[in-house]
Amino acid sequence: MDIMIKIFYAIISIIVATVYGLTLGGIVRKIYARAHGRFGPPVWQPFLDIIKTHGKRVSISHGIMFYLGPVFRFAGGLGTYLFIPVIFGSAIFSNFSIAGDLLLVMYFIFFGQLGMALGAGEGGHPYSPIGIARGLSQMTSFEVPFALSVIAIAIQYNTLNITTIVAAQQGGITNWTLFTNPLAVIAAMISLLGMNMHSPFSIVLAPQEIPIGPPIEMNSSFLATLQTNRGLFAAAKLVLFMNLYFGGATNLLIMVIKTFLIYMFSVFVGAAFPRFRPEQSMRFFLKWPTIIGIVAIIFIAYF
């Protein structure tokens, strides 16, 4: 019976996170529009888009992997989200946090992209392998500073459980990782830019050059699944970063404020910088953030 309640709570939590992630996307579009001096689309535009793409009467498939691609991608987003405790101390939003969940979450962040690569490859459009090659190479490179940062945190708190990490940061702003281990936070925030695929690192999607990249052949419900996942995955990533580096949240309001500010960081960087080429972004990730991450580990282990 206990597990049934837990599943029920998890479903509520998933719905809340998806709605939150999609709304966040709508708000960001609105902010961009206001910065351009436009009205911009309504905040609920992402929901309309999803309903519309689901409502298509015809859809073209290219084979079994083409079906499984979006499913894997969605599973990646779902897996990432389900192992992160969203709100510290809350029964509904604690999800399935277990002992080594941090490793599992890192695996799931990578998993979705791999599944997507298989599915998009079957589409047969020449631009999707280009997008996949760029996406996977960029992902491998931004995983390095992120992994180093996570190792630094694991050494610092002596655990791989997110709930414990959040618990250790409670009791005042000075207990946050942001202040106890600033180098690790810097490395991770730079890798967040790559993870969100905002402007300096948006070469993967690049709607002008390689028409939208990997999901180019995805239509109708396949695309709708990917769009839903975009909302859920964005929320999951932000909640993970909030938990690891910014002290977690004890109620929904604090969660919303903190994740919004974290997201704004990557939005502002995206609005200010032009786009990197793939090899430039790989070199960038493997240079400065990686060095910062290594220094963070050395610092936390020996000083």
């Binding site: 001096g37 009205f39 309309l48 519309k52 052949e217």
Partner: protein, 213 residues
């Protein structure tokens, strides 16, 4: 006897794909498109509302009217507030904006892109050239009536129409979608042979499958 008949009917239902070589025929689908009816009246009403509020246009500059689409994205006209957004691939978009005249070379690409779009799909034709040939009505290279080649939902007259009239056209399209009057996709399927006959009269070197799935 019956079995043979069914086979013959099936063979007739398949597309001939005469433009392709024997080797290419194995690579392309020869299935005929089918009419798809909506499942439920009330669900369809809701979906039509969503479709009308989220129009993704296929950015395909076929003629001089493509230049009129650009100002729509800028701060002055801002089409995003109406839920209209550009989309880079025909697979994901649902409104095909034919920007001005269609020549014999572009009508081939127009047909290909139109068939690759997933239904329900809507077509907006800009400018006098698409209506009756406009100032190029006697040209050897400009298609005079675009609605003989693909079904068109909205015509926007003008040479070229200003972005304001484009927005008015989109508004009209929204009304039509909400009233469930835009059924161009099924119209295309039902009159498939007529459309194909017209297309093949213009496109002389037909080197693609009869229906681009």
């Amino acid at each position: 006897m019956d079995k043979k008949n069914i086979k013959e009917i099936e063979k007739e239902m398949k597309l001939a794909n005469k433009g392709l070589s024997e080797k290419e025929k194995t690579l392309f689908s020869d299935a005929r498109p089918k009419t798809v009816r909506p499942l439920n009246k009330y669900l369809e009403k809701f979906l039509n509302w969503a479709r009308a509020e989220s129009l993704w246009i296929l950015g395909f500059g076929t003629g001089c009217g493509a230049i009129e689409l650009r100002p729509l994205m800028t701060a002055r006209y801002d089409m995003f507030r109406y839920g209209i957004a550009p989309r880079p691939t025909p697979r994901q978009s649902c409104v095909f904006v034919i920007g001005g005249y269609a020549s014999m070379k572009t009508i081939k690409r127009i047909v290909r892109s139109y068939e690759q779009m997933q239904g329900p799909k809507f077509v907006i034709a800009l400018g006098s050239c698409t209506i009756n040939g406009g100032m190029y009505y006697d040209s050897y290279n400009t298609i005079n009536r675009i609605d003989h080649y693909i079904p068109v939902d909205i015509y926007i007259a003008g040479c070229m129409p200003r972005p304001e009239s484009l927005i008015a056209g989109f508004d009209k399209l929204k009304e039509k979608i909400k009233a469930n009057e835009c059924d161009g996709m099924n119209k295309y399927v039902e009159n498939f042979d007529w459309y194909k006959k017209n297309q093949k009269r213009v496109i002389k070197d037909w080197n693609m499958p009869d229906y681009n799935w």
